[in-house]
Amino acid sequence: MTIALTSSPMQHGQLETNRLMLLVIAACLPGVGIGTWFFGYGIIINITLAVLAAMVLEAMLLTLRKRDLKFYLSDNSALVTAVLFGIAMPPGSPWWLVLAGIAFAIVIGKHAYGGLGQNAFNPAMCGYLFLLLSFPLQMTSWHIPSDAIVDAANFSPLGWQGLRQSMLLSFPFLAADAATVQATIDGLAMATPLIESKMAAQNALLTARDTDLPLFARSSDTGWEMVNIGYLLGGLLLLYKRIISWHIPVSIIGTVTLLSLLMYAPGSTSIVGTTYLHLFGSATMIGAFFIATDPVSAATSNLGRIVYGIIIGVSIYTIRVWGSYVDSIAIAVLFGNFCAPLLDHYLRPRVYGHQRAPLLGEKRRTG
C-alpha cells in the first residue's frame, strides 16, 4: 500500500513570494512619489512603460518556455524588475530606450538564465547597464520639466505644462514638428549633482550643498536629497517587515560613508565629493535598499552579505571617483553579483555543534 504522505511541517507562514514582491513595490512608493513631486511625470511614465512591456515580454517568454502562464506571472517578479528599472531610468527618456532596456532585462537578464531564481545578475541592472553602454548620451542626461522653455507663471512639473513636457520627452512623435522636440530636449537637460561635482564647478556646488541647503524647497536641485530620503524610508519599511536583512544596506552605506569620509579633504582642490553628496546626491539609497538586496542575485549567508555589501560599496565609490561612469550603482551591483556565488561558497556560517564553518575540499570524517 503506497500512500502519498505529506512531509511535516503542515503549518506554514503567511508571507508568500508574490506578496513579498508587492511589498517591495509598495516600499518604492515614497521615493517614486517624491521623485514625481520634484521631477515631474517622467518617472511614472518610465515605470508604466516598463511594467507594461515587462508583463507582455514575460508572458511571451513563459509561453515560449512552455511554463504555466498564470502561475508564473502571478509571482510578480517581472513587476518588481520593471518598477526598479523604471525608477533607475532618467526621467524623460524616450519610449524606445525604456522598451529596449526592459526587453534586455527580461529576455537576457532573466529568462536566458532560466527565469526567476536562476538569474545570476540583477535583471533590472542588466538592462540599465546595457543602455548605459549602448546609449551613453541619453542615459547620462536628465530631462526635468521646468520653466526654462515655457514662459508660464506658477510653473509646476505636475501641472499640465509639466505633463506636456514629460510626454514630449518620452514620446517625441506626439509633437507636431521636430523642432519642438529638440527645443524641449535641449532646454530641459540637466545633470545629476554627482555629474556636476565631477565635471565642473566642484567647489561652488559643494560649498552650496554644505552650507545653505534649502532642503524642503521644491527645486530640482534639492530634489535628489528628498528622493533619497524617500527610498531610505521605503528601505526602513522593508527592514521592519523583515523582507530584507540589514546586512547588505548597512554594509553598503557604511562603506560609502567611510570611504567618502576618509577621502574628503575640505578645501583641497582634489575634492571627490562629501559624504552627504555620496549618500544623498545620487542613487545610493535605492541601490543599497532595493537593488543590491535583490535576493536572487545577492549573497545569502549573513557574513557573505556583509562582504557583498562592502564589495558593492567600494565599487560604487571607486567608480564614481576614479572611473569614467558616474552613476555607478548598476555596475557596482553587477560586480557584487559576480562575487555572490563565490561568497556563498566560502562564507558559510559555522553549523551548530561544529568547531568551524565547512570549507571547500575538506575531507569529511566517515564512519
Binding site: M1, I3, L5, T6, S7, S8, P9, M10, Q11, H12, G13, L15, E16, T17, R19, L20, F71, D75, S77, G115, L116, G117, Q118, I243, S245, P295, V296, A298, T300, S301, N302, R305, D344, R348, P349, R350, V351, Y352, G353, H354, Q355, P358, L360, E362, R364, R365
Partner: protein, 529 residues
C-alpha cells in the same frame, strides 16, 4: 574539550541563552487548555504495539485468550534497547498480530490486541518504601521495569539513557517543559495541574543520574504552569528557568543551548558534555513508577483542531484508537480532512485513524481545510534567505535545497545535511512553498543508501581480492607440493648429513663386520670341537 571545562561552563552559564535561528509560529494552544485534564473511558479494544520506542520490540509473554489484569506485564523487554509493555486495563488477549500503527516506516507492526472487559481490575501494585532509601541502581531498575520511554516524542528508552548518563557522569539534568511546537499543550496542562508530581519526578531523575543540578526549563508564556511550578519548587533544590517563546527551543540540542549556552558537538551526545535532557511528561511517568509503582499505561495527550467541538487534554490509555479519542471530543466528520500525530511542525500525518495512541503520542490534531489548506505548488526559490535566518542548526537550507534538487550528495554532506533536525522552521518561513524538509529527508535517505552501497562494494572488493589471493596461493601451493615430492627425500637426508657414498661405505662396513663375526664364531666353534 574535557569534562571539567564543560562543568565549569555549565555552572557559570545557567541562564536563558539565545538559540540560533528559530521562528514564532501561531501557538494555538489556548483552545485545548480551557478545560482540565480528563481521563479517557476504556475503549472496547486496545491495540498495544510491541515497538513504541526507539530500539527493538518487546517480546510478548502472554498468549491469545489469556485473561490479564490492569498493570500486568504483557511483553517483556528483549535486548538492551527495549522497553516492556503493560496492560492498560483488564481484559482478554484477543490476538497477537500485525496491526496498523502510526509511523512513517512500517505501516503495520506486531501488536497485542486487548479486549477490555470494562471491569478494570488491577493487580496489586508493589508499594515501595520511601524511594529515597533506594540506591540509584534500584531506582533505575524500577524505571526500566515500568516501561518508560521518552514521552516527549522521540521515544528513547529512558532507563537506557539514564544508565549511560550515569556512566558518563552528568552535571546538569534539564527537565524539558518548553513544548515549543504549536497546538501541543500536554506538558503545559500536566505542569499546571500536577506540578508537584513533575517536580518529584525531576528529583527522582536527578537522584538516579546523580546530576549536580536540575533545571526545569519552560517557555515564559506558560503563565499558569509557571505559577504552579514556582509554588512547588519552593522547598526543592530543583531550579526553574524561563525560556523565550520560540520554536524549536524544545528540541534537545536547542534546549541545551538555551539553558547552558553550550552546543552538543555534531559527533557526540548531550551526555558527552555532561547534560541530560528529560521531558516533563517522562518525569511525571517516573514519579508514578517510583512512588506508586504504576507502570506506564497512560499519558497526557492533547486533542485539538477545529473539527473537534471540545478540544482538551486527556489522560489517555496507551493503545486507545485515535478515532475513539476524536469521538470523545465530538468530531465533526464533515470538516475533518486528515489527522496529525504530534505537532503541526514536526508531527506525522496519519493516513488512517484506527491506529492506536502510543507512548510517544503527545498530540492528536484533527485537520480541517480552513486550518490546514492543501499544499500550494512549489514556486521558484528566490534565495531570500529567510530559511537560513530561521534554521536552528545554522545550516544554509537554500543551498541544501539546490544541491538536493541536483542530488549532489557530496556537497550535501559538506554542508552538513546530517545536522538537520527536520524541525521544519525553514519550510514554515519559505515564501515559495517549497517542501524543504521533504527534500532533506529524501536526500538523507539517498546518502544513507549510497553509503550502504559503498560498504557493500568495498566488502565485495575485499572478498574478490581474497579470492584471487586464495587462487594464487592454491596454484602456488600445488607447485610447491609437486616440487616437494620430488626433492623431499634428498633434502631430508641432507638435513641429517646423509650421503649415498657414505651410506654405501657404512653398509659395506656393516656387512664386513657381520662376516667377520660369523667367521670368528665358526672358528671358535671349531676350536671347541
Amino acid at each position: 574539550m574535557n569534562q571539567l571545562q564543560h562543568s565549569r561552563k555549565i555552572a557559570r552559564k545557567l541562564r536563558a541563552h539565545r538559540i540560533f535561528g528559530g521562528i514564532k509560529p501561531l501557538a494555538l494552544k489556548a483552545r485545548s487548555l480551557r478545560s482540565r485534564i480528563m481521563p479517557t473511558p476504556i475503549p472496547e479494544m486496545l491495540i498495544l504495539p510491541l515497538l513504541q520506542h526507539q530500539g527493538s520490540p518487546a517480546a510478548p509473554i502472554v498468549n491469545v485468550g489469556d485473561q490479564v489484569l490492569k498493570y500486568q506485564l504483557l511483553a517483556a523487554a528483549e535486548g538492551p534497547l527495549s522497553v516492556p509493555v503493560h496492560a492498560p486495563t483488564s481484559g482478554e488477549i484477543a490476538a497477537i498480530t500485525d496491526a496498523p500503527v502510526p509511523g512513517h516506516g512500517k505501516q503495520s507492526q506486531r501488536c497485542i490486541l486487548l479486549r477490555a472487559d470494562g471491569v478494570d481490575n488491577a493487580i496489586g501494585l508493589l508499594l515501595l518504601p520511601d524511594h529515597r532509601a533506594l540506591s540509584h541502581w534500584q531506582l533505575l531498575e524500577r524505571v526500566n521495569a515500568a516501561g518508560i520511554c521518552g514521552l516527549g516524542g522521540a521515544g528513547f528508552p529512558t532507563a537506557e539513557k539514564l544508565r549511560s548518563s550515569i556512566e558518563r557522569g552528568i552535571e546538569l539534568l534539564i527537565i524539558n517543559g518548553a513544548e515549543c511546537e504549536p497546538y501541543i499543550s500536554a506538558d503545559e496542562a500536566l505542569i499546571r495541574e500536577r506540578a508537584a508530581a513533575v517536580v518529584s519526578g525531576a528529583e527522582i531523575l536527578q537522584s538516579i543520574c546523580l546530576a549536580d543540578r536540575c533545571v526545569i526549563a519552560i517557555e515564559q508564556d506558560k503563565h499558569d504552569a509557571l505559577k504552579q511550578l514556582r509554588h512547588s519548587l519552593e522547598s526543592s533544590s530543583v531550579e526553574l528557568l524561563e525560556l523565550p517563546t520560540k520554536y524549536p527551543i524544545g528540541g534537545e540540542k536547542q534546549i541545551i543551548q538555551a539553558v547552558t549556552g553550550l552546543e552538543v558537538p555534531h559527533d557526540a551526545l548531550p551526555m558527552d558534555i555532561g547534560v541530560l535532557v528529560q521531558n516533563a511528561g517522562t518525569a511525571y511517568a517516573v514519579h508514578d513508577a517510583i512512588t506508586e509503582g504504576k507502570p506506564c499505561i497512560s499519558r497526557i495527550t492533547t486533542l485539538t483542531g477545529t473539527p473537534l467541538q471540545t478540544p482538551k487534554n486527556f489522560e489517555a490509555l496507551i493503545g486507545t484508537p485515535v478515532s475513539f479519542m476524536f469521538e470523545l471530543c465530538g468530531i465533526e466528520e464533515s470538516r475533518h480532512t486528515g489527522s496529525i500525530m504530534g505537532g503541526s511542525l514536526m508531527g506525522l500525518e496519519l493516513v488512517r485513524t484506527d491506529v492506536p495512541l502510543i507512548k510517544t503520542s503527545n498530540c492528536l490534531i484533527a485537520k480541517s481545510r480552513a486550518e490546514f489548506p492543501e499544499a500550494k505548488p512549489e514556486q521558484a526559490c528566490i534565495r531570500c534567505g529567510f530559511c537560513a535566518t530561521a534554521c536552528p542548526a545554522r545550516l544554509l537550507p537554500q543551498q541544501l535545497y539546490a544541491y538536493s534538487r541536483n542530488q549532489n550528495l557530496e556537497q550535501l554532506e559538506q554542508l552538513n545535511l546530517a545536522d538537520c533536525i527536520e524541525c521544519g522552521a525553514c519550510d514554515y518561513v519559505c515564501p515559495s512553498h517549497i517542501p524543504l524538509v521533504q527534500y532533506y529527508r529524501a536526500s538523507k535517505q539517498a546518502i544513507s543508501s549510497r553509503d550502504q552501497q559503498r560498504q557493500l562494494s568495498a566488502h565485495w572488493q575485499r572478498r574478490f581480492q581474497f579470492h584471487q589471493y586464495r587462487l594464487k596461493k592454491e596454484a602456488d601451493g600445488l607447485q610447491e607440493e609437486e616440487r616437494a615430492h620430488r626433492i623431499a627425500p634428498e633434502a631430508a637426508h641432507q638435513a641429517r648429513g646423509f650421503s649415498r657414498d657414505k651410506a654405501r661405505q657404512e653398509i659395506a662396513a656393516a656387512v664386513e663386520r657381520v662376516a667377520t663375526r660369523r667367521r670368528n664364531t665358526i672358528a671358535s666353534s671349531r676350536e671347541s670341537d
